[in-house]
């Protein structure tokens, strides 16, 4: 009795963590390049819809993946145009995109499924392995790839430079803006992947439940490092899994258990204050001299 529960917990926890982890990886790319992105939540709520839409419309989960990634990229492009090209305040742009995203899912759902708050059921999904969405396991190679790209490639080195010292990059002939575009777009791509695990069998309005924001806490806790950020995401994911699996068995009111991930996020932020250092130019629009 104990072992099945434990295994169940381990795998479900992984599944619960994956969307947060993907989003956090997206945030790593974005912020390593120097752009703060609080619109991850918005990106995710759009991609969560488009994955279902694409899968149902083309009767293929691959099309769902394509839709999700494409829509994530589209959203992130808006953020990039506003913050990189026009240098508007990155938080303001994020707020605007979150507002916009609230409407996108509901608008499209009304048009496509003729109901505003949920989609039709989607049966085109990746197969389940060990009782969980098999796409969850894609996380592992993706984390490895992200780490490799950021720390072992020319692109990664330059991307990190742009987030740390854009002026230095500029004096070495490295284009700050194009790298920041790529960083921001990567966050859209990752939110597309996150949606593949989130709940691809159906879209429900508000289903993202703040995971995009939790991913930001994971990013900070993980010190802007892809591997640590994913580990931090696992912490949040497992906390949530614990809540879902044992809510009914714990003698405290369920609402307090529901607060767990958010309180945890605050505690984590307090704990790492001053120790976790953002890229030096994170959040600062770059303007060339003269």
């Amino acid at each position: 009795m104990f072992f099945p529960t434990l295994l169940d917990f381990l795998f479900r926890g992984l599944e619960m963590s994956a969307p947060i982890a993907f989003c956090a990886l997206g945030a790593v790319f974005c912020e390593k390049s120097g752009v703060v992105n609080i619109a991850l939540e918005g990106f995710l709520s759009v991609t969560a819809f488009t994955v279902v839409w694409g899968s149902i419309a083309f009767q293929s989960v691959w099309m769902g993946l394509a839709f999700a990634v494409a829509s994530g990229v589209l959203m992130s492009l808006m953020h990039a145009v506003a913050t990189v090209t026009f240098r508007v305040n990155q938080i303001v742009s994020g707020v605007a995109l979150n507002t916009l995203a609230v409407g996108v899912g509901r608008f499209l759902s009304q048009k496509v499924f003729e109901q505003e708050t949920q989609s039709a059921a989607n049966s085109y999904m990746f197969p389940t392995v060990l009782h969980i969405n098999s796409f969850t396991f894609v996380l592992i190679p993706v984390v490895a790839a992200c780490w490799f790209v950021l720390y072992k490639t020319v692109f990664g080195l330059r991307l990190r430079t742009v987030g740390e010292n854009p002026e230095a990059a500029d004096t070495l002939g490295i284009s700050v803006n194009s790298l920041r575009y790529v960083g921001v777009i990567m966050s859209g791509v990752m939110c597309g992947l996150a949606a593949m695990v989130l709940y691809p069998s159906k879209w429900v309005n508000g289903m993202t439940g703040g995971r995009g924001y939790i991913a930001l806490a994971a990013l900070i806790f993980g010190r802007w490092h892809p591997v640590y950020a994913v580990l931090a995401a696992l912490l949040f994911g497992y906390a949530d899994t614990f809540r879902i699996m044992f809510e009914s068995k714990i003698p405290i009111p369920s609402q307090f258990v529901q607060m767990l991930p958010y309180v945890l996020a605050i505690v984590v932020l307090v704990a790492v204050r001053g120790k976790s250092r953002a890229p030096a130019a994170d959040g600062i629009p770059y303007e060339k001299g003269e």
């Binding site: 609080i38 026009f86 240098r87 508007v88 995109l97 507002t99 605050i266």
Partner: protein, 364 residues
Amino acid sequence: MRKTKSKYRVLETLSPILGVLASVLVLLVIAMIIGEMPGKTLNAIYKFTLASASRLSTIFSVAIPLFLAGLAVAVAFQANVFNIGVEGQYFVGGLVGAMAGIYLRLPVYLHLPVVVLASMAGGALWAAIPALLKVRMGIHEVITTIMFNNIAAALVNFLVNGPLSGRGEKSLEPQTLKIQSTALFGKLNHWFNAIGLKVPKHVYLDYSLIVAIVMGFLVWFLLYRLRQGFEIRAVGTSLEVSQYAGIRVKRVQMTAFLASGSLAGLIGLQEIFAIRGVYTFEIAAGLGFDGIAIALIGGNSPVGVIFSSVLFAFFKQAGYGLQLYTAVPNAIIYVISGLMILFIVVINEVTTRYIRALRRKEAA
């Protein structure tokens, strides 16, 4: 010189107007893609917003909480504090206010101000923790306030279902006991009727309108007439200059944050004390986030927020019109308001740069 100054002024006021126009254009284009001609779209909007006294006065009724929400966010923004937590502060503030309305026994003339103050205190209380975390520990408020929104939702849900539950009252959804009649907000419709403005009975132009007007004035007075407001704006303009000038920056940020939270506490007044007469977990969610959009569109000034909250209310109502009379879903309004913020800030950035270039040319 006078002339050039007005030229700049025109350029500066242009960005919100252009932003709104651009987003309306996008709305019409989306509607056309769906298959609705602009004429029909505009007509649907008209019918639901301006066609009758009832529609028109509803816009203003809807605008009241939106105005308070926008004002709350704007005060914080003025000090460069990003209070994304207005939503949670509104939940908590409303609950504290409702408690004062339910459990205190006071004569009307005391009970009404007490519930207003209690709501403000509740909102400020919920803002105080992220504010302290920011000022004392340097933790950026954006993430903490978002987390506090979620915590507030769970907390309020618990309280309304548990210790403060008023089950037994005949209702399906969890709610508190009924608010005493001494604390209920009456309507002001007859005042408007008396001066010849037709406001139908079913429209809520209630005491919360007075609160909104008073608060709007107070915030304006704070920002533009009190030295504390001067300091808030100075801090929002430049931390470095403010420090140089001896302004106690942390204290100012704390003040702005708490003022923002108190205003947030008032967003629920209309719904709780005028419309429902009880506090439920179902009080309109999302108003706090609407407030962010409204503050940004209104340029974070109280006067601007008057316009942007009415505009927002107009669009909200327009959304229902579209839903009813056309094939365009109501949710389009969120898409449009998000775009509106983006358009406004981008256009603003472009004009500011243009103005700077013009001035530099003049100086050279």
